[in-house]
């Protein structure tokens, strides 16, 4: 069974976000860790690991009764917000790296269209 292509940034990004949004946190944070490892810069990649660790540590604390539900929910929401921000940064890096190239390609297509019309 094949899922999305491993290099499909969009599909993997979406899958993690939907995972976070539907409370499938464990899979989503592992997905974030892999996503950061695959597409993040050398600074972003360890952040993915850190957020994943934080989530698991928080879960352990909650399971052990070391923190109350209200605190758990508050910290979890903060973690989710940080995780979505990190994903946007990673996608941003990918977009910035490709933006110029794509603009160039669009310009070239426009130019070619113009040339065809002039003919």
């Amino acid at each position: 069974m094949r899922n999305e292509a491993p290099g499909d940034v969009g599909a993997r990004y979406r899958k993690i976000r939907v995972g976070l949004a539907t409370a499938r946190y464990s899979a989503a944070f592992l997905g974030l860790m892999d996503f950061a490892g695959d597409f993040g810069t050398s600074e972003q990649s360890p952040k993915g690991l850190k957020e994943c660790s934080s989530y698991h540590e928080l879960s352990l604390q909650y399971d052990d009764g070391r923190i109350q539900r209200a605190d758990y929910k508050r910290e979890l929401n903060e973690l989710v917000t940080r995780a979505t921000k990190l994903m946007d940064e990673i996608v941003g890096s990918q977009v910035n790296g490709q933006g110029d190239e794509l603009d160039d390609a669009s310009d070239q297509i426009e130019k070619a269209k113009q040339e065809l019309e002039n003919l």
Partner: protein, 420 residues
């Protein structure tokens, strides 16, 4: 669903909110993800996590519905009248997403075996014969077959523990000089092998993992990073303080897997890893193996043997089926049963054999076999699963278990004569 137009998705989300706000969260979140330009709207949607919504009191349902509808209206407004800069940025993002949509791993061959044979004379004559095996980065190859079919023998040959009687094995990615003869001392250092019977670990689990990484040249800060990564990735953090004998079978396997993966090998060979795991542990392990194998940056080729046929055919890209030493099927999972002449279904229900035969009246049903635990129903190819379910429904037969095994490895066990 994600390919639907904005209008269709909007209708679906609105209907979903009216029907059941508790269940509508995912539709609203996906609507925001796919069609909103404003990141704040996406962030608002993402925090509508299901736990909050599932636990809401009935008295709060109206408020919940109202909040969701307001959010949906904001998404509509944002989608129809976006901020020009945000629209440009999002358009560029989608262009990049589109560009990378089918970006695959370069599936280079890691192991290429040809005409492998192994002959044993004692205790009884046995010949293993595998004409071809090609393992590629990012792919999972499952090896299945009855007990004593030669799976472990094949694995022992591939990892250099046993010499083949004839045949060749090449490892194109291992940077070996092409002298024609396999340099097993180098190859063994580059294959991660998890045997069926796990060795006992002595001393601290952390030290063992760190030492394994160091022995592969991963030292200092890199050693810390590799250790952090693998223990986190495989969910071992909470178990580092245990002694080996205190770990469950599932965690022993996970630690062994961590030891195999900490140095980022290109080839991972797992001999019957699911044997002692409960259902949840099996699924989570297979999911992890799949994600790790299909990493974009560090893809791994995985060879895995198992008697858990359904699980293995779910996760594998290719299947090698061995029967009495002979490779009777080696192809993509999607090719399983492609040349079949019949459809086959497994059924469990509370109806006796004779009653079932009487009730399942269709000329396309060829045979109903009672295997004790369940029935196996063989039909013509024109008779599909829904056809059978319809007849069962019409006769008020309630299936406890139903599975179409027409394209399952299970068929190879029963037919045993599929062409390689």
């Amino acid at each position: 669903m994600s390919g639907d137009s904005f209008e269709n998705r909007l209708i679906a989300a609105r209907e979903s909110i009216i029907r059941s706000p508790r269940r509508a969260a995912q539709d609203v979140i996906e609507l925001a993800e796919d069609f909103a330009y404003d990141a704040k709207l996406k962030a608002t949607a993402i925090l509508l996590n299901s736990e909050d919504w599932q636990n809401v009191e009935d008295s709060d349902l109206a408020r919940m519905r109202q909040e969701m509808e307001t959010l949906v209206e904001k998404i509509v407004d944002d989608h129809n009248n976006p901020d020009p800069d945000l629209k440009k940025e999002t358009a560029l993002r989608f262009k990049v997403f589109d560009k990378y949509k089918n970006r695959e791993i370069e599936r280079r061959v890691v192991l290429d075996a040809n005409n492998l044979t192994k002959k044993f004379v004692k205790p009884k004559e046995f010949l293993l014969k595998v004409p071809k095996l090609e393992l590629r980065l990012g792919d999972i190859t499952g090896v299945a077959g009855p007990n004593g079919s030669g799976k472990s023998t094949l694995f022992s040959i591939l990892v250099g523990e046993l010499a083949s009687t004839s045949g060749t094995i090449h490892f194109p990615e291992f940077g070996l000089a092409g002298s024609g003869k396999t340099d097993w001392s180098t190859v063994k250092r580059k294959i991660a092998y998890v045997p069926q019977k796990l060795p006992h670990w002595y001393g601290s689990l952390e030290d063992t993992l760190r030492f394994t990484a160091a022995s592969k040249g991963i030292t200092g800060r890199e050693n810390d990073k590799a250790f952090e990564h693998i223990t986190q990735r495989l969910g071992l953090k909470g178990h580092l303080g245990y002694a080996w004998s205190e770990l469950s079978g599932g965690f022993q396997l996970r630690f062994e897997l961590a030891k195999a993966l900490i140095w980022r090998p290109q080839l991972l060979i797992l001999d019957e890893p699911l044997a002692n795991l409960d259902v949840n542990a099996q699924h989570s392990l297979l999911q992890d193996i799949r994600s790790l194998a299909r990493s974009y940056i560090n893809p791994i080729s995985v060879l895995i043997s198992s008697q858990h046929l359904f699980e293995i055919e779910t996760v594998a890209d290719e299947i090698l089926f061995l029967n009495r030493g002979k490779a009777t099927f080696y192809n993509s999972v999607s090719k399983l049963g492609e040349d079949r002449e019949y459809n086959t279904f497994e059924l469990q229900c509370d109806v006796g054999y004779h009653e079932l035969r009487t009730k399942l009246q269709d000329r396309r049903i060829i045979e109903i076999a009672d295997l004790g635990l369940n029935y196996v129903i063989t039909t013509e190819l024109t008779f599909s699963g829904p056809d059978l379910l319809e007849i069962l429904k019409a006769n008020e037969i309630h299936p406890k278990y139903f599975r179409n095994i027409s394209q399952s490895i299970l068929q190879l066990f029963e037919r045993n004569e599929v062409a390689a």
